[in-house]
Symmetry: C2
């Protein structure tokens, strides 16, 4: 009997810690001044410093943290305007490309998953908790990218994490809901043109 887990939530310790920390940092919960201490994080997650180190190194490579040898990590600053535009352009390129690829792969289970993420996002927006909003926003886009290519997911994450370093500046929760609802609607009805249009509109 074949047992395929319906969700990919079977993460390793490192992935779990990495995703948790990323979501917290991107929505501005972490100050840029307060240094990140491995020992404190290890105690918090109930593990040793090893896996925490792995996560911090990974987040540094993603651009969420900045690594300095023998000095630890600190929260990165948002990219300058010039670089932001470049990254934004590349993010659009990747996501429109992935949409094209994944829209012909998606099945009914994917529809359900997307609806579920959208619902979580809606709840988060209504609650106003930026932590959860940033998390779910990223999760929705990430789902589509990953569905197209695991390979591109890593590249996309490095670009998008850097862009979202000032996610806390996003103001209108209602717009987030409608924009993402438009994307999901178009995707679930397999309307590529509409989906790409909604996507471009969402990636400011």
């Amino acid at each position: 009997m074949l047992m395929t887990p319906s969700q990919n939530t079977l993460q390793s310790t490192r992935e779990r810690i990495t995703d948790t920390l990323r979501a917290e940092i991107l929505c501005g919960e972490w100050s840029n001044d307060i240094p990140v201490r491995e020992h404190a994080l290890a105690k918090r997650f109930g593990v040793s410093r090893g896996p925490v180190r792995d996560s911090l190194l990974q987040l540094s490579q993603e651009g969420v943290l900045v690594y300095q040898t023998n000095k630890g990590v600190r929260v990165n600053t948002p990219p300058a305007e010039e670089q932001r535009q470049l990254l934004q352009s590349m993010r659009r390129q990747i996501e429109t490309f992935c949409l094209k690829i994944c829209i012909r792969k998606l099945n009914d289970a994917d529809n359900d998953n997307l609806q579920e993420i959208l619902q979580s996002l809606t709840l988060a927006c209504n609650s106003g908790k930026l932590t959860v909003i940033a998390n779910k926003d990223l999760a929705l886009h990430r789902y589509l990218v990953r569905r197209a290519s695991d390979e591109l997911e890593a590249v996309w994450l490095g670009i998008t994490s850097r862009l979202l370093m000032d996610y806390s500046r996003i103001e209108k929760p209602e717009e987030i809901i409608t924009e993402h609802a438009a994307i999901v609607d178009a995707v679930t009805s397999r309307n590529l043109k509409a989906a790409q249009k909604a996507l471009i509109a969402n990636i400011i």
Copy 2:
């Protein structure tokens, strides 16, 4: 008295191992079939498994290796044609952007460094050793990107490493020399237009 090291070769253990392994893998020295063993690498570099693990994780994030929980890493395969074009397009975007930024920062010391790298590349091409060629080719482009922005370097590396997964297929060492000589010449004479043209010509 201020002592600034002329080169940035003061790397950490992890960086040293990472750069060494990347160069070897990109030029096809490592088979896709033979599994990568942490213990063997640790013994080779004279360190414990910890730093080696860090390097393998980092190279996985870069796309050079593929990581599987509890199963270790294996050499990645080159991207499919469709994805290769997307990555190539993004690489061009980043490098032309970085050229624009760095060309107004470069000084005489940079000229010397670039000439030095170009000479190493020339020697490598004449010797025909792909290991060294791949290393120096990457080093030249990387120098310009890093000079423009440490931030973009990581993004660029993730894209370019994936593209160079089939560097071993590159055939003409002479073309590599002339193409990169053209880039360095244009850059050292601060001719942006010519440099960008030479760059585009080099990034196939």
